[in-house]
Every structure is written in structure tokens, then in C-alpha cells.
């Protein structure tokens, strides 16, 4: 409807004007698009080149020989696949914990009636402003006392806690969309609070799983500081720490580093290609309601 209106609106003269400025606008938009993409393009091309090409013969062009061996080197000697698997394990566990905890908490905060739930909600929202770094010393000391440094839990637990506030925030939005009549109907059918939660709320919260999951995934997939400090064992390192360590080892051989960087990036980009709307929505959902 609005499209049709728009087509009718501009007069001929205005249409001409629009075209001139349109070109400028497009030029600007395309320029920024190039600036956004170029480093990634460069990374992927140099991940397939040898040093001679990267360093002078062919700096920005497509590779001449397509050195896939850079990738096998990064995977085998650089242990990229171990880091990869670790990141997946950490992300999956973090997402699972965040989902369970934030579903349950949101249910108590929005569907159950009790005194002080508004205050409790505000309390949880404090987590949005608290910098993750602030708790590093006490967590480090505690983990070290429990002999949990360099285990998956050393990062899974903090990541879950730090994703929790956003999880609750996003879930609050989704849970608010579920009609209260459903609760009452289920209650009349003899369901208790747990029954309503499991039979009515959880099945209807599947869109929230994706949104919270994506947000949490990106948080823990990319996090460096905690992983760097809490994990020193090569077998447990996550991708960011692994990539950082690998770049330290191959400082002078750029091809394998490029391959490692690309390996850490491509899966996210692939997922993004298929789920771009979803991913963007999860970021918007988090911020706009905050």
C-alpha cells in the first residue's frame, strides 16, 4: 500500500532531483559496505597465499596458487580443530544453562504473582551494566581454590552468569506475548505452576530459544579475557585464545595465521548468511527493550 503511494507522490522534477542525490547516497552506502567487507576479503585471500605473494607480489588480488595447505597446517599443527570443538562445547553448555536459568527466572518474574518481583527484576538487570572484568580476581581465586582452572567449567559458569541478564530481558519480551488465558485454562485443567511452565510456557517459547541462543553464542564464541586468564591447558583452549596463541607461534608465516583466522570466522559467517534476520533481531531484542 505504502509502496503504491510512494510511487505516486514525487513529481517529475522531484524525481530527477532524487536521482542525483540517490547516486551520492548509493556511492556512500557502497563505500561503507566495501570498508566493512574489505578486511575480511583480504583475510580470506591471504589465508591461501604464501609469504612472497602476501608481502609484495600480489598483495590484494586473488591468490595465484590457492595454498590449501595453509588450512591443513592450521588444523593439524595449530590444533585449530581442538579449539573449535572446545568452543562448541563451551557455547553449547553455556546456552543450555542460560536458557534453563533464564526461562525459569523469567517465569517466576512475570507469570507468578509475588511481592518484590519488580525489585528482583531490577536486580537482575544490574547485570547489563556490570563489566565482566570486574569480577575476574575473585572468580579466578575461587576457581583456583576449587581446582577448576583450565576446565570447561571455568568459562562456562561465568559466561552463563553474564548472559543471564540479557537472557531474562529477552525472555520477558517473549513471555509477555503468551496470552494469560492459556495459564488459566491450564490451571482449570488441574495444572500447577510447574505444569503450566512445562506444558504451556516452554513449548511456546521456542522463538526465544533462538534469540537467546544466538546472543549467548556470540558472547561466548568471541570472549577473550576470561578464557585467556582461566585456561592455560592447550586441550581446553577456546578459539579466541587458540587463535591468539597460534598467531604467537607463527608470527612470520602469515598464510597459516590467515587460515586460522578464517577458520574461526567462516562458521559464524555461514550461519549469518542463513540466519541474518534472526541474528539481527536477537541483537535488537536485547538492546531496544533495555
Amino acid at each position: 500500500m505504502s509502496l503504491a503511494k510512494k510511487a505516486q507522490m514525487p513529481s517529475l522534477e522531484e524525481g530527477h532531483k532524487f536521482k542525483m542525490s540517490d547516486i551520492l547516497v548509493y556511492a556512500g552506502l557502497i563505500l561503507w559496505a566495501l570498508i566493512s567487507v574489505f578486511p575480511v576479503y583480504w583475510m580470506i585471500t591471504f589465508s591461501l597465499k604464501n609469504n612472497a605473494e602476501i608481502f609484495g607480489e600480489n598483495v590484494v588480488g586473488l591468490p595465484k596458487y590457492w595454498l590449501w595447505s595453509n588450512y591443513t597446517q592450521a588444523l593439524n599443527t595449530g590444533h585449530m580443530y581442538v579449539y573449535f570443538l572446545n568452543s562448541i562445547i563451551v557455547a553449547a553448555a553455556t546456552i543450555a544453562i542460560t536458557l534453563v536459568a533464564s526461562f525459569m527466572a523469567t517465569y517466576a518474574l512475570t507469570r507468578l504473582v509475588w511481592k518484590g518481583r519488580k525489585t528482583m527484576n531490577k536486580f537482575f538487570m544490574l547485570g547489563l551494566t556490570i563489566p565482566i572484568h570486574a569480577s575476574i580476581v575473585p572468580i579466578y581465586v575461587t576457581l583456583s581454590k576449587l581446582h577448576m582452572l583450565s576446565t570447561y567449567w571455568a568459562v562456562i559458569i561465568p559466561y552463563s552468569a553474564f548472559s543471564l541478564s540479557m537472557g531474562i530481558l529477552i525472555c520477558t519480551g517473549f513471555m509477555g506475548d503468551i496470552p494469560y488465558d492459556l495459564d488459566e485454562a491450564a490451571f482449570l485443567d488441574g495444572c500447577g505452576v510447574w505444569g503450566i511452565f512445562f506444558r504451556v510456557i516452554v513449548p511456546l517459547m521456542t522463538p526465544a530459544i533462538a534469540t537467546v541462543g544466538i546472543y549467548t553464542f556470540l558472547q561466548c564464541w568471541n570472549e577473550l579475557m576470561f578464557a585467556n586468564v582461566f585456561i592455560s591447558d592447550d586441550r581446553i583452549k577456546t578459539l579466541p585464545v587458540g587463535v591468539q596463541a597460534l598467531s604467537g607461534q607463527y608470527t612470520t608465516d602469515w598464510g597459516p595465521i590467515g587460515a586460522a583466522l578464517a577458520l574461526a570466522t567462516i562458521p559464524t559467517l555461514l550461519v549469518y548468511v542463513f540466519l541474518s534476520k534472526r541474528i539481527q533481531d536477537s541483537f535488537i531484542a536485547g538492546a531496544v527493550k533495555g
Partner: protein, 293 residues
Amino acid sequence: MKRTIGYKLSIFAFLLPALILFIGVLIAPIIMSAYYSFFNWKVGYPLTDFIGVKNYVELFTSKSIGFMKALGNSLLLALLSVFIQLPLALLLALKLGKKIPGERAFLSVYFMPVLISTVVIGQLWLKIYNPEYGLLNVALRSLGLESWTRIWLGTKETALGACFVPILWQYVGYHMLLMYAGVKGVPPELNEAAMLDGCTESQVNRYIIIPYIKPILRVSVIFAVTGSLKSFDLIYVLTNGGPFHATEVPSTLMISMLFLRNRYGMGSTIAVMLIILCFAFALLISLAFKEEK
């Protein structure tokens, strides 16, 4: 639904996992950090040397720690974010919000850098800035601008700027996305009415759209400022605070206090200052936006 003891217990049970995580990993550690910050505590030694606020005094006065400089750097980053990154994001969002062809493609491309791990971006820009083979210097040389080449991350004058560019670059797309969502939320009737009244595009932007998306701008400003105060990853990868502390920010300072100098007490002091600053700025910005209303 009745308010029985069972009901109350259920409420508690539903909150329990979140409370354990939240209090155990966020709230309790902050209290512990605040407590540690009153001690001269070195790794491996018992926590016995209570020194009151001496850590705070040293933090703000010691030239060799250079906290004020680090704080200044992150505030400068915050300023640049608010006055360069956000306007650029707003400009892109306003243009994309006008239903132009290819809008989704542009949106997706602009947002892409946000998804890439900061370590990857850092390593990538490290290569771009490499003094000998880096893209930047190679490009300058091939353009005949040999004299413009610099050791970007190695000289005091350029390092800070060189660190800021990727940080600003990466998150333009994020703010753009938020603002774009806001622009899309403006009721089309408002736009059309203004257009019919003969408003130009920039007038519509200025008097209709921007006031309408103010809550989102507030969120963006808060994120940009607190994000700048917290910035760590990219600077850690690019320079780790060097050369000569030119690019030090509070987080890198904290990490070096903790894990290079083994001063847990002082590290905790910086952590506490970070929390205070983040909350203070979030509050200030919220107030500033309210005032304007």
C-alpha cells in the same frame, strides 16, 4: 492461584538457578573485589595486610601506574564513539530506513563485522598495520606516499589512533542496526504527513525520526560509553597497552597489575573503579536524556 507455602517454594525454586549464578558469579565477586581493594595483597601471600584506601590513593596519584592516562584514553575513545561512530551509524540507518532497494543486503553487510571475533579482527589489523608488509603501508607506498608510512602501532603518536580505528569500525554496524530498527518503528503516517506538509527529507529526519528514536539513541550512547570504558580485547591483541603505555586503558592496566605484577589488591581496586565508572556514566547519560525531554 492460591498463595500457599508450596506456591512460594515454587517461586523460589524457579528463581534458584538464576540467583545462584547471578549472585555467585556477579554480585559476590564484586563485594569480594571491593574487600580485596583495601589490602596490599600479592599473589601467593595471605590476605592480611589491610591498608585502607591506600590503593585508591596510589591509583590516582602514582605516575608509574598511570591510571589517569588510561582513563583519559578510554574517555577519549568514548568521545570518538559518540561523535564519530554514532553519527555515522545514524546516517547509515536513516538512509537504509527509507526503503531503498538493496536495503537488507546493505544492512547485513554493515552488521557483519560485529559477528567476527575481536581476536580475529585484532590479528587482522595487526597484519594491516605491520610496518613492513602491512596493507596500509604497502598501499601508501604504491600511491607514492612513502613519507606517510608509519610504524602505526609502534610509535606513541599513532598507536592510540591506530587502536581506535578497528574498534570504531567494528561496532558502527551494531549501532546502525539498533537505530535502523528504531527508524523502522516510526509510524509511516507520521512520515507521510510530514512529507505532505512539504518537509524535506532532512527536516523529516530532524523533527520526526530522531526525536522518535531517542530512547534507542540513549541506549546506543550508553553502550558506546560503557563499552569504551570496558574496552579490552582489541587493545590487548594490538598493543597490550604499549608502546610506553600510550594505548593503556583501565582493563589492560588491571590485567597487567594482576598477572604481570601479581598485585591482586591493586587489580581489584581498578576493577571496583571500572564498576563505579560504568554505573556512573550510565546514570549520567540517562539523566541527560531525561533533561532534554
